[in-house]
Symmetry: C2
Subunit: 434 residues, 2 copies
Amino acid sequence: MEDMIQPRVLKGFRDSLPEAEIERAELADALVRVFRGMGFVPIDTPALEYAEILLGKCGGETEKQVYRFRDHGDREVALRFDLTVPFARFMAEHYGELYLPFKRYHIAKVWRGENTQRGRYREFTQCDFDIVGVDCPSADFDIMETICASMGALDVGDYSVRFNHRGIFNRFLESAGARDKSVDVLRIVDKLGKLGGDETGKLLAGFVGDATAGKILDFIRRENDSSATLEKITSLAGGKSEDSVRVAAVLGLAEATGIGQRVILDPSITRGLDYYTGVVFETFLDRLPEIGSVCSGGRYNDLASLYTRQKLPGVGASVGLDRLIAAMEVLGRSGSRSGYTKALILYSDDGSAGAYRKLAAELRACGTACEVYPERKKIAAQFAYAERKGISYGVMMGSEEAERGTFVVKNLVTRQSNEFSSASDAAAFIQRGA
Amino acid sequence: MEDMIQPRVLKGFRDSLPEAEIERAELADALVRVFRGMGFVPIDTPALEYAEILLGKCGGETEKQVYRFRDHGDREVALRFDLTVPFARFMAEHYGELYLPFKRYHIAKVWRGENTQRGRYREFTQCDFDIVGVDCPSADFDIMETICASMGALDVGDYSVRFNHRGIFNRFLESAGARDKSVDVLRIVDKLGKLGGDETGKLLAGFVGDATAGKILDFIRRENDSSATLEKITSLAGGKSEDSVRVAAVLGLAEATGIGQRVILDPSITRGLDYYTGVVFETFLDRLPEIGSVCSGGRYNDLASLYTRQKLPGVGASVGLDRLIAAMEVLGRSGSRSGYTKALILYSDDGSAGAYRKLAAELRACGTACEVYPERKKIAAQFAYAERKGISYGVMMGSEEAERGTFVVKNLVTRQSNEFSSASDAAAFIQRGA
């Protein structure tokens, strides 16, 4: 192997073979259809940005993971590590060319030099959607309804969008005398699902004492229905306010739209990030609670404060594509599709090559994805190719058939064969799945 | 503006605003539909690779343009600058898991630190499709037919796929005594379209002398039809051989498929790259010859020789997406679409917010992309929003209509209004474009 370079993908990265890429594309296509149907528009931003733009806001863990270097012009640049920071820069830079409210989706790769021992990859796809420029219940609900429509489109079974309001939580902490510990409290409560109530209580007690920990555990417990939960937390937070009115309005919209059983007020939802200022939400699949939230987000009161004085309140969510793909596999919803071809025209005779091509073009014109095996080879090899690509029909045009002006379509699963003289009849037969 | 970071995209890069991104997505979707219909499957590879993998083969210009740095593990890495080198690495690495012939497409971003004065961007999308593992006329033709199907799907008017065979060209140069100058000759002939015959002749004469330059100019001139051209170049190359038989077979397949007038033998097509060994082709739009080829490629006899001893002959092409987008704009084929929403439900009354949402969900269930304006605002502002997003219908549900259980759909272009009591009737009306 002298002079040869070992072909290997970079550590922490992976290739996407056809089966995986088809799966990913189908998932993304389904989401895109939902986003478009709900009034979102796509944008894109560069993979590389000035490092100071991407890193202005962060530090610690994130900063250490960022791919950062000097470009040919000696500029400090970095690969984007999420889609939120570039979106903030985008809104600040193009404010004059855009309109508000601005509803955008963005599906793109991001890069983080994470520790791969945790089974994470250093390149992954994010899928974000946001509504910027308004602060109202309708926009909050729009995002949650879009999550519901996405879950429906992906056919992942029952699920719930659990939401909470940071404002109510903060008022409650204030009244419980634990406002100064809110960051720690939010962080600990965020782990309730993993730790369980007892462990969470112990951890909380370490920060705020036993009595307050008990109050917090009471606060974050869901009641029988969302109205009862809202009543309880509103009262524990010191009574009605803008935040509880907002939650009631969101619940009302969910009821009106017939998804009241999907959109559930859950005071244990906190989202760890400082960033959020209003509603926060996570999405759980009933059959796979253990994989955690497959779509999370919330309201922020100022998207781009780092780059502009223009106030840009917004609400948005991010779909965990890789997690969803894993979930769909477990649920048996994965296509495990290896190709799109419906019919393979078998190649048995060089003299018929033109006839094969003509028939293929006709079948395609009738909407049947089809290909011609490119050369004469043992028929077994051609069938093996069809099987490998999940092609259901073989089309044979031997010299006899060619003379009669016909061809045979064979269902490669049932082994049944039918003779046709017209491509449109054959295409209809194939599309019926006969 | 103390403490604020100026929001600006990195030099040489650009954002994609909704109109541009919708255009790009529609183009890519159309190409993907064609690829799938022809039996190609998608793959993806990482944006970052080991530098030695990406740069093993190249040097000079390309190497200087590559974004290259050390990652967190002190590995020399680089951003991919094309999709061919990663595909070669991919085929070598996954050879055992794949099957041959392997037909793949790959649409993805690549990065080159090019001189931006030439109006080029440092990030752009490539769109490649290849058939690897066979060396036969059917595979060569498959790629050309896919180009034709792509042009048809994009509705760019008349076009031609001009092809040539490196083997015939090389045999001709041999017989003309200019084989040792072939790299220069190919490079000069490649510029024929730009330079014109006279200038090309002068340049050639500088390398091979007047007599041979004349022979070359004669060789690269097209005759009345492809058969006549083939006859001439075959004879100038010293007679029939495998290469001329291949060209005849490709022309035969084009005739059989009814695209004989699209697939034209043109001996002036050389493609500058050493890489190609068989057919080479370029695609020109009749109405925009000056923009150059919008889809080019050819046959190579060994894709991955740098990484494996496994011989992988192949043929493929690359669509110039940015060039095509520019072309479609000039041809008036651009959608200049600013969104997908068909109907905007106007928001006039907080008390009806639930009813708006319910109607929107019903319209969507009938296939109408629709959104609710998120808050009460002057009706003029809501209409301005609709106009900005290219929304054709406004849906009004005032208190009177709400009482009657009806709503009004207004065509925002013709200003005509119709009253409905059922979402499905309204959806049908909107879809009819009434």
